[in-house]
Symmetry: C2
Subunit: 218 residues, 2 copies
Amino acid sequence: MGKKTMISMAVVRRLPKYYRYLGELLRNDVERISSKELSERIGFTASQIRQDLNNFGDFGQQGYGYNVRALYEEIGKILGLNKHYNTVIVGAGNIGQAVANYTNFERLGFHLLGIFDRNPKLIGISIRDKVIQDVDNLEEFLRSNHVDIGIICVPKEQAQKIADIFVKCGIKAIWNFAPTDLNVPDDVIVENVHLSESLLTLSYRLNEAELFKEKIGR
Amino acid sequence: MGKKTMISMAVVRRLPKYYRYLGELLRNDVERISSKELSERIGFTASQIRQDLNNFGDFGQQGYGYNVRALYEEIGKILGLNKHYNTVIVGAGNIGQAVANYTNFERLGFHLLGIFDRNPKLIGISIRDKVIQDVDNLEEFLRSNHVDIGIICVPKEQAQKIADIFVKCGIKAIWNFAPTDLNVPDDVIVENVHLSESLLTLSYRLNEAELFKEKIGR
DNA sequence: TAGATTGTTAATCGATTAACAATC
DNA sequence: TAGATTGTTAATCGATTAACAATC
């Protein structure tokens, strides 16, 4: 389950942040940046930045640093943003609608092809010019349209069923917002967004000091 | 920036998953579980499970394993779920509304006190019995109500401004959905949910094999 | 050229896994 | 009691940081 990346996940998860910071620098007309300078802004060590980037190529120049635009574009390519992706959202509830409406994804190359739900009250309604379809039509839709990324926004009880349909129809990447772990073959990538786990992490940290105070007090 | 936890973040981020799996076991009337058995379900090694839990106490019993209900409740306490938290959401757009409507948080003890936006079209509208208020009233509201967690769902340009208000009013925990990094004092905890970083990670992984194929081909 | 900064190797640090004595 | 399984120490593995020669 979950294809192993050749590059460690620790590195991969930093890439979007590089991309974001370089985009900002670019918008501020910064032409070149050293690992040291970037380090101060982004909060990784200069050493780590150089190590990270050198996994993918020699993008810098001794004595100069990195050309912001070139590096931005390189990391874009590394992230696969030179390509175009078709997506579908299954589940048109709160999160499904929020994701559908987040037009920034479109700008990054992620194109929403269809939205599905099983609730008759939602079927037929339009979100961003997309009519919500009956989830019963999902499989047929996937057979007649090439979809790269399936987005799961249904309650956890139905998530695995949707994942199974995605897998059966050849989808290789799933963005999962349902608070559950999906079982998929090794060649299918799942990226989870578990909001409640994020919130619980926050509440843990908010209480940590007190937790150990109590421990000592006993 | 970002208070260091006494327990490593690697461990902390696994805690909610333990909680989720134990909750499931409990609902399935499983009374006891060994680290080995839990390992097979949750996908961490048995050794890691025992190490993780022993950071917080001796919850198991040799020859028996762990009592599911007791461990579930202990982890709940560790996560701070024995307490009650007041929250406010600032930004009543897609994500703000989605978070506001996610009633499961309420069940976990996170109580939504107010929703704020600056858009006159949204102010006055109700979401789950909460009238969206003008963000200009945020500071006053925070002064007269005890709020534990501030949730930022505004566009990135306005996020820091809201964070500053939160900090000024004594909020110690921020759940940030804006695609930017916030500057806050050391004693304020920020938990980020960066959806586009998650999506870019997915697109990276979808392309990784090809990326290195090209590299070799050159 | 001299100064700056990379790419990369080596050293360190931290997290995970293995092993096993303690004990229920 | 014997078997099972923990808690915990030690070994391993991987990720981060430091150092520095290469070079622009």
